[in-house]
């Protein structure tokens, strides 16, 4: 074990504090055969390059991880994304997952909800409850969390354009359960920039959307300080076809845009930055993924320190959630997907993720059945408890290949970020289609490789079989739409419509002016204004975004 002064300093200043707060899971870690496992493998004599580029976990530049003990202290959060159909059915699925050992909830909303349409809007035809839960009013949110005490779970909500409204609903549910705001924990995705780049569930144009983002960040840092206010996402950018370097470059560039906007709005970087989180993809090239995560941590730490002068280590740390790549899964020989997901989950853990969602094997066909969902969770549990990789920190650190690849990816990503800076920043790059074009190129190249057979996808372009078994497909009950519409009609008659009208008027005033929109949204939510009604007010003020021509 190295007794280099830098190492000793790390043990005293960083490790000790963490051990006091979160003792390691066992007193002594041993391999399956009984060999003692060291906490952190180091070179005998760490040189300058090691100390400045690689360093120690929990210390700038965080290449080896954001906590000094990583999974020796606590496993990552096993957070399975779920949600479909109605709030009542989703509630049942959440309670099932909690019983099976999930440690955090992750809510998927249907597309109308994500785009700010009520279930009875013409654009919602055929979409209600299909890819997630339909939420029209606070009533639906209350049903979603029935019997789930919000101070005992941490909830992540994949919601972006109308994040302010869904967050307000969550807070209102907590209030109704008698839980004070400061005790609520969780995350809202709230990353609108990637919507324009890769995911498409935007509503308003970029600039007013940034205002909404900073309103949320500002309000949360005062009212719900334990809530993570943005999950700056690379997952979807990668799914759209980006390379590993592009994934982290565009994500971190988006991150910089949010930080700049928040600073311009008068917020203190060391107050809001610790609550920023990230969301990455775990794709199939295992070693590239591990290097990518390490490169991302180092690059972000540098950006926060050098560009934004963040002083607190917590402001420089890149904490992230990972999801295994959906687009890598195949409709052919779906059991192969279990193997793919396992390797991808392994990459995420070796890469030091804080939270992980593993896809189910039927991903390419439909939303997961209960069995598939449970198996995906078991994959994580087996890695955590049986594989041994969690007993030492950053096990692949120091590998010639991994360190070289980490450097290479950081270098490439850095150059891409500079490119965007030169183009006038992320918003200009999005509006001109610069970012989208690069991703399209990468996607097209990938497809070309698959089509030519250069890139083998087992079961698809090699090792195919004649498929005989038709796996059970999860069907969303089509009466969901009808029932949601019925509920909407009922609530519109039951609530106090004058109060709703007044609350919406207040919201419009705040949106037109400079006041934070969260308080009026909370008011309107309590009066059972619908999501569509509130978004329509905002559409009236901010306008709507039209897709870039791209070419």
């Amino acid at each position: 074990m190295s007794k280099h002064p830098a190492f000793v300093e790390w043990e005293e200043k960083v490790l000790k504090k963490t051990l006091e707060r979160t003792p390691e899971r066992v007193k002594e870690f041993k391999t399956a055969s009984g060999i003692p496992v060291e906490r952190l493998a180091l070179p005998e004599t760490p040189g300058d390059k090691y100390l400045s580029e690689i360093g120690f976990p929990g210390q700038y530049p965080f290449t080896r991880g954001v906590q000094p003990t990583m999974y020796r202290g606590r496993f990552w959060t096993m957070r399975q994304y779920a949600g479909y159909w109605t709030a009542e059915e989703s509630n049942k699925r959440y309670r099932y997952l909690l019983e099976q050992g999930t440690t955090g909830l992750s809510v998927a909303f249907d597309l109308p909800t994500q785009i700010g349409y009520d279930s009875d809007h013409p654009m919602s035809l055929g979409e209600v409850g299909k890819v997630g839960v339909a939420i029209d009013t606070l009533q639906d949110m209350e049903a979603l969390f029935t019997g789930i005490p919000l101070d005992k779970v941490s909830t992540s909500m994949t919601i972006n354009a109308p994040a302010s409204i869904l967050l307000a609903m969550y807070v209102a549910v907590g209030e109704k359960q008698g839980i004070s705001r400061e005790r609520l924990t969780g995350t809202i995705q709230n990353d609108i920039l990637k919507e324009y780049i890769a995911r498409g569930t935007y509503i308003f144009p970029p600039r007013p959307s940034l205002r909404l983002t900073t309103d949320i960040v500002g309000w949360c840092s005062k009212e719900i300080p334990l809530f993570n206010t943005i999950s700056i996402s690379g997952y979807h950018i990668r799914e759209a076809g980006a390379t590993a370097a592009q994934e982290i470059a565009f994500t971190l560039a988006n991150g910089c845009t949010y930080v700049e906007a928040a600073i311009r709005a008068g917020l203190d970087v060391d107050v809001f930055a610790p609550r920023l989180t990230f969301f990455f993809n775990a794709s199939s090239d295992l070693l590239e993924e591990v290097a990518k995560f390490r490169a991302a941590r180092r690059l972000w730490a540098r950006l926060m320190k050098e560009r934004f002068h963040a002083k607190k280590p917590a402001s420089q740390m890149l904490r992230f959630h990972t999801q295994t790549s959906g687009s890598s899964l195949t409709a052919q020989q779906i059991d192969n997907n279990i193997v793919r997901v396992t390797l991808q989950a392994l990459a995420a853990v070796l890469g030091g993720t804080q939270s992980l969602h593993t896809n189910s094997r039927d991903e390419a066909l439909t939303l997961p059945t209960e069995d598939s969902a449970r198996l995906a969770l078991r994959t994580q549990q087996i890695i955590a408890h049986e594989s041994g990789i969690c007993n030492t920190v950053d096990p692949l650190g120091g590998s010639y290949y991994i360190e070289g690849l980490t450097d290479r990816i950081e270098h490439e990503a850095s150059a891409l970020i500079e490119n965007i800076d030169r183009a006038g920043g992320m918003i200009a790059a999005i509006e001109s289609g610069l970012v989208q074009r690069q991703i399209e190129e990468a996607a097209f190249e990938y497809q070309r490789q698959v089509d030519s057979g250069e890139r083998v996808i087992v079961g698809v372009n090699q090792f195919q079989v004649q498929e005989t078994v038709s796996p059970p497909v999860f069907r969303v009950n089509t009466s969901v739409e009808k029932n949601e519409i019925k509920k909407l009609t009922e609530i519109r008659t039951k609530r106090n419509n004058q109060k709703v009208k007044d609350a919406l008027a207040c919201l419009e005033e705040a949106a037109r002016g400079k006041d934070n929109v969260m308080p009026p949204i909370l008011e309107a939510v309590h009066e059972y204004a619908t999501l569509g009604e509130m978004c329509d007010v905002l559409r009236g003020v901010f306008g709507v975004y039209n897709e870039s021509k791209g070419r």
Binding site: Q114, E127, K130
Partner: protein
């Protein structure tokens, strides 16, 4: 410089609220490379918009990407809209996350082909070539 005679005009777009356009863009680009003129209408289109654009542009085929599970309702609405705007003969090809059991119904309703994940691009291009050839023949193009 003389350019190859283009094969036909195809409208490519996405119906419904899903915004993942990687597949649609790859198909659009592949078709361009295969000598088609692609009218790309982007995401979040309604069935009526697609039908109306297809008629104005007098396309030889329509290609749609559907990933959110709303294909049954949306495709039905599209075929109805095409009927109402004199576009019922325009061949429609769809691709995306579509369970096998839905495919026969979609084809009965009038969809020419349904492609699911993993289909080689060449198969898709061949399908477009076939339907556009047939449709253009119907339109009796005779160059002077």
């Amino acid at each position: 410089m003389e350019v190859r005679q283009q094969r036909g005009r195809i409208l490519i777009g996405k119906l419904g609220l899903d915004g993942h356009d990687r597949g649609a863009k790859i198909i659009a680009r592949s078709l361009c490379n295969d000598c088609f003129e692609v009218i790309y209408t982007g995401i979040r289109r309604t069935p009526e918009e697609i039908a109306s654009a297809a008629i104005q542009e007098d396309v030889d085929a329509i290609g749609l990407s559907l990933l959110s599970g709303a294909h049954n309702e949306l495709v039905q609405a599209l075929l109805k809209a095409l009927q109402q705007t004199k576009g019922k003969d325009i061949p429609v090809i769809i691709g995306g996350i579509i369970p096998q059991e839905d495919i026969p119904h979609l084809k009965e309703d009038g969809v020419h082909e349904v492609f699911t994940p993993g289909t080689p691009i060449q198969t898709i291009l061949d399908a477009f070539r076939k339907v556009t050839d047939e449709y253009r023949h119907k339109k009796h193009y005779q160059t002077s």
